[in-house]
Every structure is written in structure tokens, then in C-alpha cells.
Amino acid sequence: MTPQRMMFWQIDLVWLFYLLAALATALFLAGMAAHVLVWKKNAGSLKIPFSKEALKRMVLDSFLGRRILHGEPAAGLMHLLIFWGFLSLFIGTTVLAVHHYLVAFLTGTTYLIFSVAMEIAGLMLLAGLLWALVRRYMQRVPRLERRLEDAVVPLWLLVVGLSGFLLEGLRLSYEQPVWGGWSFAGGWAGALFSASASEAAYPAVWWGHTLLSLSLIAVIPFTKLFHVLGAPAAVYFEGIEKPAALDIEEAGQFDLGDTVFFDACMRCGRCVAVCPSAGAKEPFAPRDFIQAMRRSLWQTHSSFGDVRFLSRGEESDVDKNFWYCTTCRACLEVCPIYGASFEAVTRKRVLAVEEGTQVPKLLNQTLEKLAKYDNPWESSKGQRDAWAKDLNPPDLTKRGVEADLCYFVGCTTSFDDTARGIARSLTKILQTTGASFGILGKKEPCCGDIARRVGELGLFQEQQEKCLELFDRYGITEVVTSSPHCFHTFRNEYPDAPFRARHYTLLLREMLEQGQLRFREQQKTTVTYHDPCYLGRYNRIFDEPREVIRAIPGLNLVEMAHHREDSLCCGGGGGRMWQDLTGEVKMSEIRIREAEATGAKILVTACPLCRIMLEDARKAAGLNETLQVMDLNELVLQALEGVDAEAPGA
């Protein structure tokens, strides 16, 4: 007899099977419809923009599991086993159906190949599932949860898989076909049973396997299994280009992409593992926040409540703790579906700011100051250029003063004692190299970053208009900033800006290339570099600061455990500098300990907020004697030939 599969052996009530299948399909479709309906209600429309790029990325990420492999090869491999195992089995079943109802082609060698493929697929699936369970329950990987749903779903699938093999084994044990050896796994399982026992047990096992499989399909939309469809959808939507400027009217609303993201979140917890807020044991974690958003999505738009019935009852008010997020973007870096939790946080902030009563007191005062005095630090513009008094850089707002470059100092660098060192150092560097530059003096407004991060979009727009008007008035086309925040805001959030903005690290690197920076040999010192979130992760500027450091002879650059894309936030961004939120430890202290662990004598950074936060952390950690914090400008100035060494922060 040619190799082929015995179908529906001993199954008389085949119609029941079809009925159950139809039922399962109906439930599945109903669940899917519920999701789509909720999406539509929340986002307003289901209009799906087309993007080839997004589509390509979705396909590649889904089939290659790139994002899951990213940074965690074990998790990636495990997931690929499950993905390809299941997908192959699913295709296999479909192929079998085609063979049974349409064209009988699975015979002979074709069937044998099919058989082997199915064995391998099945084993892959089982291996993947077992590995998953081991990771979650034995290795107890911290970011993985151990809720009821987390056990039920993989175990269910595991039983489906095992019962499948058992079923095959029983059939083979009875049938004893010559080609049975090709179904090695099933054959092994079947060897445990005698032919008569197999015959007897088969129908029960068949119905059991059938019920389990069909019900698994039916519950896909009702459990976190939804991610098998939701995740690719989310990847697609997150790949659609979003406009740079936030439309104030729509800013507080979640669009279709956000909605799908909330719904598709699989609770993998990679975001929690990298979130500095969660790391500092603050009452915030991106996963919790997104799940809270997901729950409220369902509570608001579905008459039946939360579709994930195993997740019901997990109430939390974490969505009130959205002021903790520093917008460091670590979550986006690792999320398998490119979910930007911090953007969802910002939208909540927009709503809170508009409503008014939930804005924390310190932030309330800070925003008022910003609106009145163009800076969040002092109730006066008078001292904005006090840092420059003895250095006398040209003031571009004075008549007749022109220069190639406008040094946009920024609020924090202008007003904070520690951060002023950055401005003084950069000014001296520019003066030493004879660069043509000027500052805006007292007239310099705020770039608006703080307002933007905490959701005060009206204020952001006002500051944006002030900056654009000023740059236009004084014909400024080249801007260099102290702060990565100003840089990021100018470059990415000022749409159609008629000026080029660079962070000073890019300028220093350019000056280095052009041979304008000549360094003296330094005492042999080990230094380490902290990548500011808004310079590194947001704008992918990792190499330029390092090139500058390496160019200084005598300095040995070592890296902290978390560096480049993994850099740990100092805790100053997202408006946190002007609030007082803490967890069990301070984020900045965690970071300073990492710096200490490298054995470096100097921790170099390139952002005024980082400079302040890390300086305070150094004092709080009692590292005054062993570690120094310096901005890259301060480091460079100290090493420049022809310049008197000056103590940092002076």
C-alpha cells in the first residue's frame, strides 16, 4: 500500500466534528470581531494606510522572529521553535484537508516527506513549549510572569501537541504500516500500547485532541494567544510613518496603531527588564501601564468587559502613575512589536494637563514659570546669560552682530550652577579654536522640550513659535545645542525648520576631523561614557562622543555594563527634573554604581540633565573621592593645548 494517512479512523460522528469545528471557528471569528470593533470605537476609524516598508518589516519580523532574537538568543530560539513548529503543523493540517477534500496527493514519497516534516514540526513545538515552561517556572526569568493564564496557555498547547503524537502513535500501533518508521516520534509513543489497546483508546483520544485543538483556536482572541494575529498587526501599524508634529486637537487621543499595540501586548516584560523606573522599584512599569490602557480600552468600548477573561480582576491604578516615565525610550528599543510606551504615557499626560487637577504641584509651578519666563528654573530672565559675563561671547541679538554658528545654550545649562560649566567650557573651546559663533543672551527662549514631554502642547507650540521667530529675525540657520533634549526637539519635532540643529558632540567631532582640536597628553586615566537617552537611543549618536574621548591621549575609555542603546537613564528626562518622584533607590544612583564598577576615575556625559543628576548621585553615594563627573566639553577643554586647566563646574 502506498504511504498515506488513515483519516477519521473509527470516527463515526464526523458531522459532530464539523459542527464543533464550525462552532470553534464562529467563536474565533466573534472574538476577532470584538477586537476589531473595540479598535474602531477607540480609534474612530479603521482606515489602514498602506506602506510597503511596514509590510515588509512585518513579514520579516514575523517569520524570522528578529525582534525576539534581538538581545536574547535563547528566548528567540525558543519562540522560533514554537512559531515554526506550530505554523508547520497548521499548514500540515490544511494540506491534509486539501488532500482529503480536494486533491488526493499526499501519497507515496510525498506523504513520507510530509510525515517527517510533521514529526519534526511537532517535536519543535514540544521542545519550544517545554523550553518556554522551563524558562518561566524553573529558571524563573524575572521579566516573565507566572499568572494563571501564563501556565494554562502553554500547557494547553503542550497537551494538544502531546495528544497529537499519542494519537499518531495509537494509529501506528494498530496499523503497523511499513512506512511507520518515518513517523518516528509517533512510533515511539505508540510502542507503549498494544494494537488492541490502541484501537480501543483511539476514539477517545481523538475526540480529546480534537476538542482541545478546536477550543484552543476558539480562545485565541480571548487570551494572550491573540498576539499571534495582533503582534504582526501591531508591527505593521508601528511601521507607518507618523507625522513629526503632534496635532494638538488629536494629541490626547489614541490612534489605531496605539490601540492595536495595547491589545497585542503579550506581556513579555522585556520593557520592564530595561525600564529604569521599574529598576528603581518605582510604582511604574511599561507593561503594567500598557495593560492598564488595554483594560480601560475594553471597559470603555465593550459591553462584555475585558475580552481576556483570564486577566479579569487584575485591577491597578498604575495608569495614574504616568508621571514616573522619563521617556528614555528603552522600552521601544526592546519591544518585539515596536511599542512606544512612553508615547502612550505622553498622551495620557496631554489629557491630564488639559484637565488640570491631576498635575503635580511642582510641575504646575514649573510650567507656569516656563510660560512667564521662558525657563523652568527661575522667575526671571535676568540671569540667563550670567554664566557668560566674563567670557563675553558675541550676542547675536545685538545690532550688527553676526556669526556662522548660534550656540543655543538651553535653560538648564544657563541657570543651574553645575550645568553652567558646560556652557563655559564650550564657549572657551569655541573661542580657542577661533570659531565664528554667538549666543542669544537673555532673549533665548526655551526650546519647549519640557512642555512637550509632560504633555503641555500649547506651551510647547508657544515656545516653538518664539524660537522660530527669533531664529528668523536674526537670520540664524546653524544651531548647536548643549542639551540633547533641545537638539532632539529642534531636529525632530520642529517640522520644516529652516535651520540645522546639531548637538555639540557632532560639532566637536567635526572640529576633531578638521584638526582644530589639539590635545595635550593627559595623565593616564580610565574614563567611562554615559550615553544620554536623547542623544543615543533617540538620535543614534553613539560613536561621535567616543571618538572625541579616544582622541585625547592618555585616556582609556571603558564601557559600563549598560551602554549605547542599552544605556541606563539618569532620571532627569520626561519632566522628572522638576518633580520629586522616587522609588526605593534613585535611578541615578544605580547608574553611578555602574560607573564605579568600571573602575573609571571620570564619568563623562554629554547632557546637562545627566550632568546634574549624576553629580548629585555621586555625592549621595559617597563617591566624591573616587569618581568625578564631567561633561564632554569640560573634559575636552581641560585637555586642550593652550588653555589653562579649569576645575569642572567653575
Partner: protein, 328 residues
């Protein structure tokens, strides 16, 4: 020409220091006006306060006692004061700028057709028209204004710890009891409960160690507490104070706030740690006998009003200081 009348206050059985300060300035004004100084005391029972007040040599001590004057229900006190003023007809009526003074002063002035100036740091008599020249800080302490107002009596509330408390006098004053008619219907505001709280009486401290933004975090106050304990051994009542920033950040409760919207103090020693010295804070402590400032910013305002300055990290200085103090 009416007399200078002072509303006195009792604290734990004896005259409040504020009252003694009022006596001091009252004496001078009475002399300038060529009239007498009188002291007024209200309470639910006639007490020893009158005798003590008399020992400071006013011409008269008016003592008013009535059961409804128990505690402090402003409406009853106001009615009593109205009746006393109708009888005594003072030319000048002074109260301390205190809780009672602010509850009573404005409303009494209104009822008497007088004009009150609050929080005066100096008082004098205009030689030309005999009216009171009232000096007070305005604009949050950014300016000093001298006011003159029409009206009879001339009224003012006087800031505490500005004038020296009077010394007892040789001549003793005459104690005069005044009866007032009060009844419960006069009060439209009913007191439901009076609750004592743990109140930080900063103005009673001899030495205040205050922390501000420069502490960097809440734990900074633990360092200051060590200093407070060490100083307590040799300095009597040593307390912790703070600037408004520390309160805003939630590091410490507002009871400890020194400044315009906190407590105004003038202790023997004020140690300002990590406080830059914004004007609203300075006005609250600038009259301290000795001011010591510890701050990493050599150019900050606090050093400009300090007697001794240390430009150093408080975290380095204070633990070492505590050690040295314990060694001494």
C-alpha cells in the same frame, strides 16, 4: 489726646514676650505723644496677668473678665474691645501681629472707624499732627513703606521680635476692672472643635539649623538632625528649619518653613545649609543674631547676609563638624 493702649496676651500663665515688646514701644510712643500707656487684658477669669502687667509701669492695666471670653472666639473679643474702647477712648491702640491681632485688628478698626496698618516694624509719632507713622515691609519684603492714616484711634499690629521687650519698672500701674456685656447671640461663627497639633514653634528656638534645595534630597535632613542633636548639648532649644523649596519637594513639612509665608524668626544662631537666599526666605531670618551659611555656591545671596561662610559640600562639612563638636 487719648492714651496709648496695648492689647496684652498671656502665654502659659504669664505675659507673652510680644506683650512686653509692645510695652517697650508703647512707652516710647506715649512719651512722644505726651500721654499715658495702658495695657488691656481679656480673659474668662481675672488673673495674675494684671498684676504682672502692672509691674511694667503702665498708668493703668484694664482687666476684663467674662466667661464668654474663654479661649478665643473673635466675635466675643471684638464686642468686648468695642465696649472697652468706647469707655477708655484710646488715642493709639496697638496689638501684636499675631493670630489674635489679625483676627481682631481689622474688624475692630472697621467698627471704630479707624484705619489699621498691619505688621509694623517701626512706629513713631508725627510731630506735626500727632498721627502715628507706621513703617512696614511691603512687596514681599522688597520695599519698606511708611504710612500715615486718619482715624481715631490710631491702630497698628506690631511684628514680633523686632522691638526689645520692656524691663520691669519702678512705678506700678493701677489695675482697673472693666465690665463688659456679652451674650451668646453675638457670635455667628460657632466653634465645633479645637484641636492641638504637634506644632513646630520655630520662633521659640535659640538656634535653628535650616536646610534648602542644596541638600539635594530628603536624606539631607538626617544629616542636619545629627547637627541639631550635637548643638542641643550646648545651646538650649535647637530646631530644624527649611526653605520653601524643601517643603515643595515634600522633604519636610511646612511647619519648619522659615520665611515670608512660613515663620519669621530671629534666633541667636541661624545655620543655613544649602539655602541660596531668595528674598522671601531672607526676610524670615535676616534678623538672627548670628548667621552661618554653608553652600557650594560662593556667589549665592545667603553669603551676603551671613557672618560666617563655608563654601563646601554640606555632606563633607557637617559630619566632620558634628565630630568636632562632640569632641569639644
Amino acid at each position: 489726646m487719648g492714651d496709648v493702649l496695648i492689647l496684652g496676651d498671656m502665654k502659659e500663665g504669664s505675659l507673652d514676650t510680644r506683650t512686653l515688646e509692645l510695652v517697650g514701644v508703647g512707652r516710647r510712643l506715649a512719651k512722644e505723644r505726651g500721654g499715658d500707656l495702658c495695657v488691656l487684658l481679656l480673659g474668662d477669669e481675672p488673673g495674675g496677668g494684671a498684676a504682672e502687667a502692672a509691674s511694667y509701669g503702665p498708668a493703668k492695666v484694664y482687666s476684663v473678665a467674662h466667661p464668654l471670653l474663654k479661649g478665643f472666639q473673635p466675635e466675643f473679643w471684638l464686642k468686648a474691645l468695642e465696649q472697652v474702647c468706647a469707655q477708655v477712648k484710646p488715642g493709639v491702640f496697638l496689638m501684636s501681629h499675631s493670630y489674635k491681632g489679625m483676627e481682631l485688628g481689622p474688624r475692630l478698626a472697621c467698627r471704630l472707624g479707624a484705619r489699621l496698618t498691619t505688621d509694623c516694624i517701626d512706629l513713631a509719632v508725627d510731630p506735626q499732627d500727632g498721627l502715628l507713622l507706621r513703617t512696614k515691609p511691603v512687596s514681599g519684603g522688597n520695599a519698606i513703606s511708611v504710612f500715615k492714616c486718619p482715624g481715631d484711634p490710631q491702630m497698628a499690629t506690631v511684628r514680633g521680635k523686632v522691638f526689645e521687650p520692656a524691663a520691669a519698672a519702678e512705678a506700678k500701674g493701677e489695675i482697673v476692672e472693666i465690665a463688659v456685656e456679652l451674650d451668646a447671640s453675638m457670635a455667628r461663627v460657632a466653634s465645633l472643635e479645637v484641636v492641638k497639633e504637634e506644632v513646630v514653634a520655630l520662633d521659640k528656638a535659640d538656634v535653628v539649623v535650616a536646610g534648602g534645595a542644596g541638600l539635594g534630597e530628603e536624606d539631607g535632613f538626617e544629616v542636619l538632625e545629627d547637627l541639631r542633636k550635637a548643638l542641643s548639648k550646648s545651646f538650649g532649644n535647637v530646631m530644624i528649619g527649611c526653605s520653601r523649596v524643601a517643603v515643595d519637594k515634600g522633604w519636610i513639612s511646612s511647619d519648619h518653613q522659615v520665611g515670608l509665608t512660613g515663620t519669621m524668626i530671629s534666633p541667636d544662631i541661624y545655620v543655613a545649609v544649602g539655602i541660596s537666599g531668595a528674598i522671601q526666605h531672607l526676610v524670615g531670618m535676616v534678623h538672627s543674631k548670628k548667621i552661618i551659611a554653608i553652600n557650594t555656591d560662593a556667589g549665592c545671596n545667603m553669603f551676603k547676609v551671613a557672618d560666617y561662610g563655608v563654601v563646601e559640600d554640606f555632606d563633607k562639612i557637617i559630619p566632620a563638624l558634628v565630630e568636632k563638636l562632640e569632641g569639644l
